[in-house]
Subunit: 344 residues, 2 copies
DNA sequence: GCAACTTTCGTAAACGTTTACGAGACGACC
DNA sequence: GGTCGTCTCGTAAACGTTTACGAAAGTTGC
């Protein structure tokens, strides 16, 4: 069923049918109704290839994820909820969402150049943003509008939305200091992912605020995974000069840390305080309940949809590139207690 | 950069350029090389809209997921690993993979009819298959080839791959019986998802094998989520005539069950034995280690890729629809022990 | 009653690609 | 030298859609 068959069936020209279907002005209300009725009856939907060939636009937004990537294997329900909300918003605006998985063995840059050249999407949302990100330089050169989840230091004409990793780290230090902690360790990702730098920056800011010195041995880099968290827990608990608090920039490491503590007879909060990152359903089942930060995933998803569609607006005011930092609210937990000895 | 610009740059007709790029016969080796060289130099990649409009095929496989769906919010690294392996295989065969998220508020049937009519994919992989699945009837009517992950009872011309839920349930019962368990409870999904029926079937087969009666009060339906598992654990532990073993058809409920047990001072294995479903990284951090079943996610992903591409083969022998059941291997854990009282 | 304008619609070109068809060049063979 | 076949390539149509343009019909104003 193509537009010509639909037009023949109605004894109308395809031009008029197309105008009717696309709500173009200058079509008689009566024929408009006839066309719409026949279209739904015959189940006609415009072929995407034909349409995008002619229009140069696909009405599709691409969401790039990296499968096989350790930071994502973690993936709890984060992406499912965010994508759902984003998809919902995009559908309201008559846009479709496709997720483009860049597989682990593929070169991200080559992957993107295929996506760009093939013209299957009107705009991209990038994830797992790096501090220095070659993909951004590449996209900036192309004319494909894009935004990133997580901000990079790589310059380019793009919008971004980032969680307030710096603010969370700062607040985590402040809460720990308030309870009397002095030796505060932090677990960071072992790769160049941007959030690690922001988290560290907030951590350092917190120490400076409190007037504490920076002890490099308390800054520990591990993979963002359950195993990474396990290793982190073991390292921290095994230190001769044990810290009294441990801050985590990812929630998936929390389970590993708890397991490592369990193995060594250490209890979070009582022996070493722990502040995790994002509150998630799994945390309900960790004991003692971790102190963490709350984020509205649905709001984030909607905001992503709005931001990416803004890029495509003909209104320069709207399509102007912008950055946005999403705040998280502190959720006290049982895992953050005053240090046993009242500090070192 | 389109094919005409490339052709002009080479002083060659676009027909020849197209033939060269597509490895069609009848191109002089010398010009073939020139074309390929210029294409990579100028970064030419065929526009997908134009190509698929002409060819009627997109060289793209769609993977349909339902976001916002409770059974998926669980999503541990399952999809990330499976999709990565599948994507890898498809890329080798010069196919692209897109994930099509059907958002929670959308009607799956309407969603699919859009996907079908717009012609953005050559074949589909469906997930979250229901025992009676309207989407299958719909796809069967359309000419779009598809396969399902999980088998349905809805007839249609399609291939499927399913995990051996029945075999796992049977084996779980057998292992429990071997240790002396007589009252064996089972947690099933509270919706029509196909795996629940197969798991129950294996459970019933195991009871029959052992000559045990079926106690309907031991068959408990809960949402496939951490919270569902929590509720399940509470229910089981609170029963007057407590079962000695509990079988789970999903790994995400395990965390909830453990938490509920912990709340009530019950220890898995010692007080009530637990057999979970798929082994995953998180389980390493549950204490005591759950008995579960091992699955090669990479192999599953590759197999999905092979199966879906087989659908498109011109060779009728190959494209014939087929079903396949993937076995899982038992992994003993500390959560499965002889019942305390030696059985009821 | 004619010009000017509006409303509505049909025609055809264009998007970028693939491919059927035919043409030209060249060598082989009788 | 003419015929045939092979190799290589150019031409043009086709895929399904949108849209600029113009035509036809109807309306208004004088």
């Amino acid at each position: 069923m193509n537009i010509r068959r639909l037009a023949d069936h109605l004894n109308i020209s395809i031009g008029t049918v197309s105008r009717a279907l696309n709500n173009r002005p200058g079509v008689h209300p009566e024929t408009l109704e006839k066309v719409l009725k026949a279209a739904t009856e015959l189940g006609y939907v415009a072929n995407q290839s034909g349409r995008s060939l002619r229009r140069g636009a696909t009405n599709t937004i691409g969401f790039v994820i990296e499968t096989g990537h350790p930071a994502h294997q973690a993936g709890d329900q984060f992406f499912y909820v965010v994508l759902d909300a984003m998809n919902l918003y995009l559908a309201e605006q008559h846009y479709d969402l496709v997720i483009l998985p860049c597989h682990s063995a593929d070169d991200p840059v080559e992957f993107l150049s295929r996506v760009i050249a093939r013209g299957i999407v009107d705009a991209l949302v990038m994830t797992a943003t790096r501090r220095v990100d070659h993909r951004i330089a590449q996209l900036a050169k192309s004319k494909l509008p894009f935004m990133t989840l997580g901000r990079s230091e790589t310059p380019g004409n793009y919008s971004w939305i980032d969680l307030d990793f710096e603010g969370v780290a700062l607040r985590s230090v402040q809460e720990a200091v308030k309870l009397g902690h002095r030796r505060i360790a932090v677990g960071l990702p072992d790769n160049d992912v941007a959030l690690g730098y922001h988290y560290k920056s907030g951590y350092l800011k917190g120490l400076a605020e409190a007037g504490f010195p920076v002890d490099e041995s308390l800054i520990i880099r591990v993979p963002t995974s359950e195993m990474g968290g396990f290793s982190l827990g073991k390292q921290v608990a095994g230190m001769a000069d044990q810290p009294t608090a441990l801050l985590l920039c990812s929630e998936v490491t929390a389970a590993g840390v708890y397991a490592a503590f369990g193995d060594m007879g250490i209890e979070a909060g009582r022996d070493i305080s722990v502040v995790a990152f994002r509150e998630n359903p799994l945390m309900r089942f960790l004991n003692p309940a971790p102190a963490c930060f709350r984020l509205d995933l649905n709001a984030l998803g909607t905001r992503l949809g709005e931001t990416v569609l803004d890029l495509l607006s003909p209104d320069e005011e709207v399509s102007q590139r912008r950055g946005e930092i999403v705040p998280l609210s502190f959720v006290p937990g049982k895992s953050l207690q005053p240090p046993r000895s009242g500090g070192v």
